[in-house]
């Protein structure tokens, strides 16, 4: 029996029982769609994270007060206020003799604030930062400029707005933000009347990084933030840009030794600060996402096995139902191999069709997720790779052949006389 007539025969058999054939492959459809969606989600998340690395700027170290486990979240996440990181630490890190590969060092504080202009008030976050911010973080200006060294060190009353803050404040009035005087009132403490600041620039939209909207922020000189808005004398974070990626490891240890001597730390266990490499943080996130997708893939594999058992079950029913037909085929000259081939083909074709429907369904769901993520402002990619499609097709055919093998063998080994007499 040749290939073409086998295909034709199997197609006729399957289309004669459309409803049942569809229900049979439903498990395969769901399993394969699951695999496709999960692989697409993994690829999308990866592109998101990689996109964030390049937008944030590479070779970035983040120094935070308080010791936290390398792989755990920073202490601040638990609401613990650690005051050990100071302006003096930032100055020490700028010593090129001790940290030779620091291209720029940028000290920061953060807080919640209300920004008021023209009777309108917008709740947002402020960053008290220094003039090195543009040297460390990648971004472009939509309008105006970032405040300069003179303004920073002179505690000039200037501010730079994130794009969405600027749009909310000035968009309605159709006013040019540059040169406008806004009032900033800290949520924590400080000026109750609001600190008047002149807008000198607006940053182009940046989207979200690590699930934080970068456009819903304003930036002002560090000391204004520390003293006038927060009433503190410590730093919440220092960002340090390393001049080349080869020097990241070395610089981490340079920074650690500078801060150890600043803080008179003798043993590593006593360190009251944490140096994080952004690339490491991203690799931790990648580890988490890949562990998650491995888990989900295992779930999809279970769905495929359940689907395969469905195939096994229905193929056994089919063989029983068609016992007389098998007997007849044997009587007119079909050998065991021909019968085996017919039923394996049938199972394989069933699961192949299931796999193809599953791929289409999975691609559709992945595309809807892509639309949703883009709508939410994430830099998501829609990826259904040829490898995942190939994998899905291969796995579905294999499922059919593995689970179809036993029923097919059963059919092939039927005694023709018993089969012909079967009622």
């Amino acid at each position: 029996m040749n290939f073409f007539s086998t295909i034709k025969l199997v197609f006729r058999t399957l289309t004669a029982r459309k409803g049942r054939s569809f229900l049979t492959i439903l498990g395969i459809v769901i399993g394969v769609a699951g695999v496709i969606v999960i692989i697409a989600l993994g690829a999308g998340a990866q592109s998101l994270i990689l996109g964030q690395i390049t937008r944030l700027g590479s070779n970035l170290l983040s120094i935070q007060p308080g010791k936290s486990n390398e792989k755990g979240p920073p202490a601040q996440l638990f609401g613990i206020v650690v005051t050990t990181l100071t302006n003096a630490d930032a100055s020490a890190l700028r010593d090129t003799g001790k940290v030779p590969h620091a291209a720029a060092v940028n000290a920061n504080v953060r807080g919640g604030a209300a920004v008021i202009w023209g009777g309108k008030s917008v709740d947002t976050n402020f960053w008290g930062t220094d003039y090195n911010y543009p040297a460390v973080i990648n971004f472009t200006m939509r309008q105006g400029r970032f405040f300069d060294q003179q303004e920073d060190l002179g505690d000039a009353s200037v501010a730079v707005l994130g794009s969405s803050v600027a749009d909310e404040l000035f968009g309605g009035a159709d006013a040019d933000p540059i040169g406008q005087i806004i009032k900033v009132r800290s949520a924590a403490s400080g000026e109750s009347a609001g600190l008047p600041l002149r807008v000198v620039g607006v940053i182009s939209p940046r989207g979200s990084i690590f699930f934080q909207d970068q456009d819903d922020q304003i930036f002002l000189p560090l000391q204004l933030g520390q003293e006038r808005l927060l009433g503190i004398h410590y730093l919440q974070a220092i960002n340090l840009k390393v001049d080349s990626s080869d020097q990241v490891r070395q610089t981490v240890s340079d920074v650690t030794s500078v801060l150890n001597s600043q803080h008179r730390v003798k043993r590593e266990a006593d360190a009251d600060f944490t140096v994080r490499n952004i690339a490491d943080a991203i690799s931790i996130l990648t580890t988490i996402t890949s562990a998650l997708s491995l888990f989900l893939t295992a779930m999809a594999a279970i769905a495929l096995v359940v689907g395969g058992i469905g195939i096994l079950n229905i193929m056994l029913v089919t063989v029983a139902e068609r016992t007389r037909e098998i007997g007849l085929r044997k009587a007119v000259g079909a050998g065991q191999a021909a019968i085996l081939k017919q039923f394996l083909f049938e199972a394989g074709l069933l699961t192949l069709i299931g796999g193809l429907i599953g791929i289409a369904l999975g691609a559709l769901i992945s595309y809807l997720i892509y639309l949703l993520m883009v709508y939410l402002g994430y830099d998501w990619a829609f990826v259904v790779s040829p490898a995942s499609v190939g994998l899905a097709i291969g796995v579905s055919i294999l499922t059919g052949i593995i689970f179809g093998l036993y029923p097919a063998l059963k059919a092939a080994r039927l005694n023709p006389i018993d089969a012909l007499r079967y009622e």
Partner: protein, 237 residues
Amino acid sequence: MNIIRVENLEKDYVNEDLITPVLRGVSFDVSPGEFLAIMGPSGSGKSTLMHILGFLDRASRGLYEFEGQDTKKFSDQYLAELRNERVGFVFQSFNLLARTTVLDNVKLPLLYSKKKNHDQLARQALADVGLTHRLDYYSNQISGGEKQRVAIARALVNGPAVIFADEPTGNLDSKSGNTIMRILQKLNDQGRVIILVTHETDTANHAKRIIRVKDGRIISDESVRQRTIADSDELVK
């Protein structure tokens, strides 16, 4: 040379240590051109004998030579090839494939052969049984007599040396039955060996020779003295 030669053929059915002898030493020959009827009551072993002769089953003991070759050493695959190329079956209950056209039913044995011109062979076989006007009908759209003629065309399509017919008229009215017997006689006239299994004397009398079987043994083996010739039927040319 004989087409078929059996000597002391025996068959036992074994079911959980219980051995039931069905054939207890059967010997006869079949020559080219014969039309043989095997008669006997149910349980006599006549169907088992036909199954062994048609390569659907194997004997427990004894000799079975087909076209001069001992069949004992044939592999299962070779037996399947013999069923495909050298013999054809016609069953009491037709055994046509459902949801399948008359033409495709007749083509079924060709699926398992190496021959190429399926369509031409199937049409010729259907012409031989006078069914050229039913080619595209589905098997459930035709009468019982027509179904059996499709089954004969299917048995015929690969040009077999022997056609086995197991109670071919058992499910048919006498008119349709007559047509079937007429076709079988015509095929025999053309030189094909027909082996007919039946328990009806009227049917068996269409053959040239009758072997009577009882309790697994041959009780008589004689030529038919007054052979019934089936009326010519206008459907059969």
